[in-house]
């Protein structure tokens, strides 16, 4: 989500979670495109001095509330603000709505004069562009239902919050996880995330706060709590060294609009009266000694992660080696990235070592060591493939994860290499797409890729890291300068004596400048995988089994009720039963699951299910519709002569059913019951989408952390196969007993 590159406390630059990269590149194009287009069409009367200049401005297509089309007209904070500034400063503008990345690219190509598109001011961008003063500070905030009692972050304690997978929102929520005892549930898209809150599955969701605020003005029914975090300033951009007068005018105009209240009015129009302001860092005095307490992340392999019991990773090994080299001691606090940064600001730790990108925003609050690692996005290709360079990717399909820097990077290369960029909703799918040949490469943070390679993912890196930034060790500004000195000195020594290279190589393979070529360790064998992950898979299988048994029992009852309903002489009973069958046979089970889980709690306030209950209800209702037809069909399949014979003896309808028809119908139904049971068991796998941690869900979790999709999927397929085969054998025996 975020297009804001991380300021103090943010981790945008490192996680594959921000839109910065692609947007940055593409925006250039766009602005340039406009400059050219704009230049052609202008017949604006030129005035002698600054008064009548005309500029072409590139912007995004849709990034509400900053720019969006209201049917016919372009609206938004960016639009209104720049137009007000233009009026104030006596210049005219033509908008070119190109999309963010295209706008940035257009600027670089001189096709537009400037870009106004919710563009975060970052250090990297400053190398290419000149920015105005920041005109808006973005950031992540929590949205809660307006009617709820939650008023502050403290009120979230012990609650569940919804986030979108792989976004800054997730990063932020997870950074608060330990502090507030949060359960963070990731959803694959915004709709699901928001619906989860509406349905009561979560009490809040994390999102770019202007987006939330704009939604609120449009009646989304939410309310913001807490303060924006991980925020960055948005700026108006021109090419470096060009149009300096435009920046001057912008800044002057912005100041004027702020002074006369126009600015506030424009912002309020779109996001209400939410005060955007990040609180500054405190700098109370701090003592230091032989032992330093250093905050780090919980899991960011290969930089820091728990190997079952011990903390390891590049950051850990490196700082400990430096400590040894420089004769000091380190006590680690594994807090999560954002919590670590906040702990530093609150002087609860002396430094942070957590794959933290050095950014100018952060430099305002922290002092950094020299960069000890340069991150960035790179492409992974299958080790056995022929792809060696980006050129080899020409005309090919590459997989990316939706909304990540990887996607931005791939899309920035799209035109140049004629790439087809296919987004996937999660890492597992993206990686599997390449394994399965749906794409030839995927874009990912290269240390993550490289670490996967050492774990036997079977991939190889090509190209060079892009959108990269240096990771640094951070202390509070002006405090512990000796710690930074020691870090830099130690790092230098370690680089000199080869320790540094050894540490890096341990985690991401041999590392040199032109070709990062991590070497893979042997892939774990199927048996090793089985040994390690069978407890998790068996837990999943148990839930699969439980969901199947419960829903089948319920569906059998439903089938009897509605099966007889379908055959009833009483017409309304027939109508109701027929409607039931048509509805549940006529809609996909996935929609039914979403409906029960997300829609029902909204339609019936107070009714709310956990994923298991929602899943069992869905399966029961769905399977019940088929059971109804099986039972109806079984009864109708009994020779009518049987009924006639029974009735002619004087036996009533009820006795005839009981003694003559049903015993025979049941035998006819058995194979269909077995078939439906197997289908229901397999359908449980669909419930992984609403978060039921059954076997398929468990397997995907494991694949996401091990990359061993072929092995895990084999194990899982065998588990399903064995269970279903056992079920079939059992059913066959039962059938034989009944028919003998």
């Amino acid at each position: 989500m975020a297009r804001n590159a991380g300021p103090a406390g943010a981790c945008t630059q490192r996680r594959a979670s921000s839109t910065t990269g692609v947007r940055r590149a593409a925006a250039l194009l766009a602005v340039l495109a406009m400059a050219a287009l704009g230049a052609i069409g202008l017949a604006v009367p030129a005035q002698a001095d600054a008064g009548g200049e005309h500029y072409t401005i590139g912007t995004d297509t849709t990034y509400a509330p900053f720019e969006f089309n209201d049917g016919t007209e372009l609206h938004g904070i960016d639009i209104d603000l720049l137009e007000a500034i233009a009026k104030n400063q006596h210049f005219t503008i033509t908008w070119k709505q190109l999309g963010f990345d295209a706008a940035v690219q257009a600027l670089q190509a001189d096709q537009v004069d400037a870009v106004m598109a919710g563009m975060t001011i970052t250090d990297e961008r400053k190398q290419t562009f000149d920015f105005s003063d920041g005109y808006f500070t973005g950031g992540i905030q929590f949205g809660v239902l307006d009617g709820s009692d939650i008023a502050s972050l403290d009120d979230l304690r012990g609650q569940t919050v919804a986030v979108k997978t792989g976004t800054q929102g997730q990063t932020y929520a997870e950074s608060l996880q330990a502090q507030y005892d949060l359960t963070v549930t990731p959803y694959s898209d915004t709709t699901d995330m928001v619906d989860a809150v509406k349905a009561g599955q979560a009490v809040a969701y994390a999102e770019d706060y202007p987006v939330v605020a704009y939604g609120i003005t449009k009646g989304s029914g939410f309310r913001l709590i807490g303060e924006p975090a991980l925020g960055g300033d948005y700026g108006f951009a021109v090419n470096k060294g060009q149009n300096p007068e435009l920046i001057e005018k912008f800044d002057a105009g912005l100041a004027a609009l702020k002074a006369d209240g126009t600015y506030d009015a424009i912002v309020a129009k779109y996001v209400g009266t939410s005060a955007a302001g990040a609180s500054g860092a405190q700098t109370p005095p701090l003592g230091h000694g032989e032992t330093f307490t250093v905050g780090t992340d919980t899991t960011y392999a290969p930089f820091e992660f728990n190997d079952g019991t011990t903390l390891k990773g590049i950051d850990i090994d490196l700082l400990e080696a430096i400590a040894k080299n420089q004769n000091f001691h380190v006590t680690w606090k594994q807090l999560g990235f954002d919590a670590a940064v906040q702990a530093l600001q609150a002087n609860q730790v002396d430094g942070v070592m957590a794959g933290m990108s050095i950014t100018p925003e952060r430099q305002q609050t922290f002092d950094f060591s020299n960069g000890y690692f340069t991150g960035g996005i790179q492409f992974g290709v299958l080790d056995g493939s022929d792809f060696q360079t980006l050129d080899d990717l020409t005309g090919q399909t590459v997989a990316v994860k939706t909304g990540t820097q990887g996607q931005e990077y791939a899309e920035s290369l799209r035109e140049q290499y004629d790439l087809k960029v296919t987004p996937y909703s999660d890492t597992t799918d993206m990686v599997d797409a390449v394994k399965a040949g749906q794409a030839v490469a995927y874009a990912e943070d290269y240390p993550v890729l490289a670490y996967g390679i050492t774990q036997g993912s079977g991939f190889r890196l090509i190209g060079k890291p892009a959108l990269g930034s240096d990771y640094g060790f951070a202390v509070n500004k002006g405090q512990n300068p000796e710690l930074i000195e020691m870090f830099d000195a130690g790092l230098k020594n370690l680089k000199a004596d080869g320790t540094y290279d050894a540490i890096i190589a341990t985690y991401v393979g041999a590392q040199d400048d032109d070709a990062a070529a991590p070497t893979a360790t042997a892939k774990p064998s199927l048996l090793e995988m089985l040994d390690q992950y069978s407890p998790a898979l068996l837990r999943g299988l148990w839930l699969t089994f439980l969901a199947t048994v419960i829903s089948l029992a319920a569906s059998f009852v439903l089938g009897i009720v509605f099966g007889f309903g379908r055959l009833a002489r009483f017409a309304p009973a027939r109508w109701v039963s027929t409607a039931y069958v048509y509805i549940f046979r006529g809609t996909p089970i996935l929609i039914q699951a979403f409906f029960v889980f997300f829609a029902v709690p909204q339609l019936l306030p107070g009714v709310k299910f956990n994923p298991f209950v929602a899943g069992a209800i869905t399966l029961a209702l769905n399977s019940g519709a088929y059971m109804t037809e099986i039972i109806r069909g079984g009864i109708l399949a009994v020779d009518p002569g049987q009924t006639e014979a029974s009735r002619s003896l004087g036996l009533g309808h009820r006795k005839t059913m009981q003694k003559v028809v049903l015993p025979q119908a049941f035998r006819i139904m058995i194979p269909s019951f077995v078939n439906q049971s197997i289908i229901t068991l397999k359908d449980t796998s669909l419930l992984s989408t609403i978060g039921l941690a059954e076997l398929t869900f468990a397997s995907r979790q494991i694949i996401a952390s091990t990359y061993q999709s072929a092995q895990i999927l084999t194990i899982v397929a065998v588990m399903y196969f064995v269970v279903i085969t056992l079920l079939t054998v059992l059913a066959d025996r039962m059938e034989k007993r009944f028919t003998s």
Binding site: D639, G641, Q642, E644, A645, S646, R647, S648, L649, G650, L651, G652, K655, K659, V660, P663, Q664, R667
Partner: protein
Amino acid sequence: MSTPDTQNKIVVENLHKSFGDNEVLQGIDLVVAPGEVVAVIGPSGSGKSTLLRCLNKLEEPTAGRVVVDGVALTDKGVRVDEIRQRIGMVFQHFNLFPHMTVLENVTLAPVELGRLSKSAARERALTLLERVGLVEKADAKPASLSGGQKQRVAIARALAMEPDVMLFDEATSALDPEMVGEVLQVIRDLAEGGMTMVLVTHEMGFAREVSHRVVFMDGGVVVEQGPPAELFGAPKHERLRDFLSKVL
């Protein structure tokens, strides 16, 4: 109409039955006296079976009256299950209950309807099976029986309710020729025992031998009826002559 119902086992008055637009029975009048054996003959589609099925209300008459044992089946609110207990029916395709043994087929109705205790029903069933010569098959499943044996069990099943009237709906049509005889023998025995019976049959020789009266139907009406010797010996109607020339 003028005949009092109580003097006849079965009285049918102006019986009509339609399936959709197809009027299968177009006004039937028929009377069956106690102990009388009536054979109904006629070409396929003449309405014979439909007439028979109207006699125990397996088919709902469209119009007209059916009175059995003095009870008008066609009256509203009549308890049809009670009347059916007094009317046994034997079907062309036997319709034995395949999930039960022969004995269970025969004892089902008396036990379920509370007529007899289990043991009494069993005793009667064995007697009936003895009568139809199948007592040794009491514990067999219907699937293991021949067609003739099945039909004899079906007759025993119907007799277990001690009916006043027996209806036979082409009881031998589905049998191999060598098995027809054994079933006809059972029916013959019943006739000699004084059972009131209506037989829909294609066995002209049997109809002639066993029945007191033969009814010839065609096109949904009774075309001609009378003692078998008369009907077969000197058919009056052209349609009957034509029919007999084809089947004899």
